[in-house]
């Protein structure tokens, strides 16, 4: 057979190969012992720590967020409340303003009407006074005329009355104009 040594027992242990194997294993063991496993273990511990810390941090942040949320909620509610109060106040105010304005307007209107009434009343009074005075004078004049002129006939009588009435009329117009 090519490239093959003489056959030995397969259960052979060659000293040189055994030593080479031990050296190779020693190299790998040294590397693992000094370098790989301690670092990996340390790193795993660190990771466990950081995960635990992370969980704690997350819990803290959650609590903080909850608190903040509560605060915001309170603030919001307060804002809602104050808004509603403002709104009510404003509507009350506006109602009051409207009522006041209405009252004022009514009062004014009443005042104007009253003034007008008073004026009218005064005018009427005045007119009545004047009329009374004039009617008295007129009645006295008429009576004097009726009594002064002998009433011969009915024609003359009616003439007198007509004249009087005409005078009266013109007089009243004159009087009205004077007024």
């Amino acid at each position: 057979m090519l490239g093959l040594a003489a056959e030995e027992n397969v259960l052979r242990i060659h000293i040189d190969e055994l030593v080479f194997g031990l050296i190779a294993f020693a190299v790998i063991f040294a590397l693992v012992y000094r370098y790989a496993v301690p670092r990996v273990t340390k790193m795993l511990d660190e990771r466990a720590d950081s995960i635990e810390g992370g969980i704690e941090r997350a819990k803290k942040a959650e609590a903080e967020a909850e608190e903040l949320r509560q605060q915001f909620k309170e603030k919001l509610e307060e804002a809602h409340r104050s808004y509603a109060a403002e709104l009510q106040k404003a509507s009350e105010q506006s109602a009051a303003i409207i009522a006041e304005a209405r009252e004022e307007a009514q009062a004014e209107a009443r005042r104007i009407i009253e003034a007008a009434h008073a004026q009218i009343e005064a005018d009427r009074q005045q007119a009545m006074e004047q009329l009374r005075a004039e009617i008295g004078a007129l009645s006295a004049e008429l009576a004097a005329r009726i009594v002064g002129e002998t009433l011969a006939d009915s024609a003359a009588q009616s003439r007198v009355i007509d004249r009087f009435l005409a005078e009266l009329e013109s007089g009243s117009t004159q009087q009205a104009e004077v007024r």
């Binding site: 056959e7 080479f20 031990l22 190779a24 790998i28 063991f29 496993v37 301690p38 795993l44």
Partner: protein, 285 residues
């Protein structure tokens, strides 16, 4: 296959259906005895040596593979692992949670470096068996498993003496508790034999024999497939021979994948038994 196996297989290549051709010669155990390179051949001068053979070169390859793996995966360790680091963590945690903790307990974490390096080293040496052009598991040479078993042997005896004291440890290991006095002359030699001689021997031979058998199986498939590959034998016989050798190739591929599983399992079992022995030595019986 390795060059040696190819040479071996080539001797019978194309032999099927060739009248008067060479008969099929199955690969012999000779494939496990590569001759030393001429520049490193001191095997004649020293007894019980082999010289610088393919095994030594493959040992070097496997070792540098493991060293490179360790360097590459633990170059920059961070709390948030990247892909490289995850591989190393996977290996370390696998050894810790599947081997060290169940066998020795939490206090066995100090043996974790030993077990991790054992596992990585054996697996790398085994895997040499299915890497193209190398294709010779280093552990199919008994010298290497024997060295590792020796390390574990010394380790567990040391651990036993240090944790239990010399007399207590050997008494616990050799004298079974609860056995009647008259049977002890029979039991003690058996216990000595099983605990201190057969145990390291089987520890080494188990790994060696599995790799040996697996490699021989793959070599047989390759050699047989090559022997049967003879398309020049005429249309009918040629087709048959190609079909035969195709199925041998398929089986070769399947068994290569199977071998990978076995290689992993044997590295696991070797490490597991090492942890078991250490754990037994540490605890009082």
């Amino acid at each position: 296959m390795s060059a040696d196996t190819l040479n071996l297989a080539a001797e019978g290549g194309g032999g099927l259906f060739t009248p008067g051709g060479p008969g099929f010669e199955a690969p012999s155990v000779g494939i496990f005895f590569p001759s030393p390179w001429s520049w490193g051949d001191y095997s004649e001068a020293l007894p019980y040596t082999s010289g610088i053979t393919k095994y030594v070169i493959l040992l070097l390859v496997a070792t540098s593979l493991v060293v490179f793996f360790l360097w590459w995966t633990s170059r920059k360790l961070s709390v948030v692992p990247d892909r490289r680091q995850s591989i190393l963590e996977l290996v370390v945690l696998f050894v810790r949670d599947q081997i060290s903790r169940p066998m020795i307990g939490v206090k066995g974490d100090k043996y974790l470096p030993l077990l991790v390096s054992l596992f990585l080293f054996i697996f790398a040496m085994n895997v040499m068996g299915i890497i193209p052009f190398l294709q010779l598991p280093v552990t199919s040479n008994l010298s290497y498993p024997a060295g590792l078993a020796l390390v574990i042997y010394i380790t567990f005896i040391t651990v036993g003496i240090r944790s239990q004291g010399f007399t207590h440890y050997f008494k616990g290991a050799v004298v079974p508790s609860g056995a009647p006095g008259w049977i002890l002359p029979l039991l003690v030699p058996i216990e000595i034999l099983s605990n201190f001689i057969i145990r390291p021997a089987t520890h080494a031979i188990r790994l060696f024999a599995t790799m040996f058998a697996g490699h021989l199986l793959l070599a047989t498939f390759a050699a047989g497939g090559w022997y049967m590959f003879n398309p020049a034998a005429g249309p009918l016989y040629g087709t048959i021979s190609v079909l035969f050798s195709g199925s041998a190739l398929l089986a070769f591929i399947i068994f290569t994948a199977f071998e990978l599983v076995i290689m992993f399992l044997q590295a696991f079992v070797f490490t597991l038994l090492a942890a078991l022995y250490i754990g037994q030595a540490q605890e009082a019986h």
